[in-house]
Amino acid sequence: MRRPTEEPAWLRWLLCLLAVAVLGVFLVLPLAAVFAEAFRRGVAPALAALGDPDALAAIRLTLLVAAIAVPVNLVGGVAAAWAIAKFDFPGRRLLTTLIELPFSVSPVISGLVYVLVFGAQGWLGPWLEERGIQVVFALPGLVLATIFVTFPFVARTVIPLMQEQGRTEEEAAATLGAGGWRMAWHVTLPNIRWALLSGVLLCNARAMGEFGAVSVVSGHVRGETNTMPLHIEILYNEYQFVAAFAVAGLLALLALLTLAAKSLLERA
């Protein structure tokens, strides 16, 4: 006999099927469409699109931007987590709120704010132009916009864990005479390494896939300031659909790997 807090079996199966159908139509079908469109004319044209010099330049630039943006947010995020999780100080709640702020800002606005500061008519525009420094429509602008949109990832994955662990282990290390760096290296980091890795992975996935913010600061110079997502848009607008979906497929693959790794880390 079924327990009074259980639904009848037919209803359970119906709900499961409905949930699978919702996720299938809503999430999996779009993903399948990417790969179907990419391989519409077979494997060779899709691979050729990835070997195109402009595509290779876009892949290189995407990797470079992520390689700068992710470490910056890693250092900032860990510093913020150390202060917020292990200490009590005036302004702690304000700081926590401010760190989450970039998540509630539209990606377009995240790019716009840097144009307002560094663009030709921005606050620092004339000063930078005199010195021949380009920020907007160049690598620094792409990096800044990417740091902005991926800002909270590391901090928000590490802070809850560090708060839960408290400070007893670090205090014990201090009592035994460990210095700050030694304590961080031998006690704190090993305790948070999986959460840290998970935060870095999410940060990296967003950094490589960001579109709106970098689109505003990029200027779309082919082979120079186009990241992979921007390259996809150009190909699509030129009706090179197979090429556009091939590059999109590569990014989708990155997303799938990130999800798989995150799922594994959560079990670890």
């Binding site: 499961c16 919702v22 510093a79 913020a80 663009g119």
Partner: protein, 272 residues
Amino acid sequence: MRRRDALPGLGLALGVTWLWLGLIVLVPLAALAIRPWELGLAGVWASVTEPRVLASLRLSFGAALVAALVDLPLGLLVAWVVVRYRFPGRRVLDAAIDLPFALPTAVAGLALTALYAPNGWLGAPLAALGVKVAFTPLGVAVALAFVGLPFIVRMVEPVLRDLGPEAEEAAATLGATRWQAWRLVVLPALGPALVAGVGLAFARAVGEYGSVIFIAGNRPMESEIAPLLIVARLEQYDYAGAAALGLALLLLSFALLLVFGAMQRRLRRGLP
């Protein structure tokens, strides 16, 4: 005298944090708050009340609300199934929920356009029924529902897990049917989380760009979202106008988050 803390590094950590926060987030956002006023108060007002701007704001907020409300029952269903039932493939289902978080927005936009275009896998059968999705406001809502779904599932899941069966057992002992227990015990307990999830999905959808612009068709006054209009103004070097619209969009979404926060607190009153 202040007692020295047993743990070192607060000063250094706070220094690094405020430097990082200030340079990357606070100073640039200050530019957004200050630049619009170059136009003067009347200029800012005129710039954000142009008919084309108002139409884009209506679309951005309207489609975001529709999408969040569509996501509400779907997210609740998925969360319920993942937490309460054991079935083959549950793990994969659980991991797949985060797909819209991990998939780059431009890829999502392209994929949804291919799917819902008049010759797409879903677009063709829908077109036969007389429903046009791609390149209409409905397409905007579909894209926004895609990006918003995980917010609701991930807000509801932990609450549902903590709820446990005890309250429902008590209800059953007192003679409640399964449906009554669900409606009178489970649903009220999930209320605050549902509202929070809808709020997050809504806020995210209002500013969404990459997943929308491919499927929207971007016709002025009809299927043009507000973030796209910001980009259009920037391309014409209308910095102040772009900043005015950006500031308006940001303030409207913050106001929205406050409203959802207040609703959450109201619903939480009366809960254990």
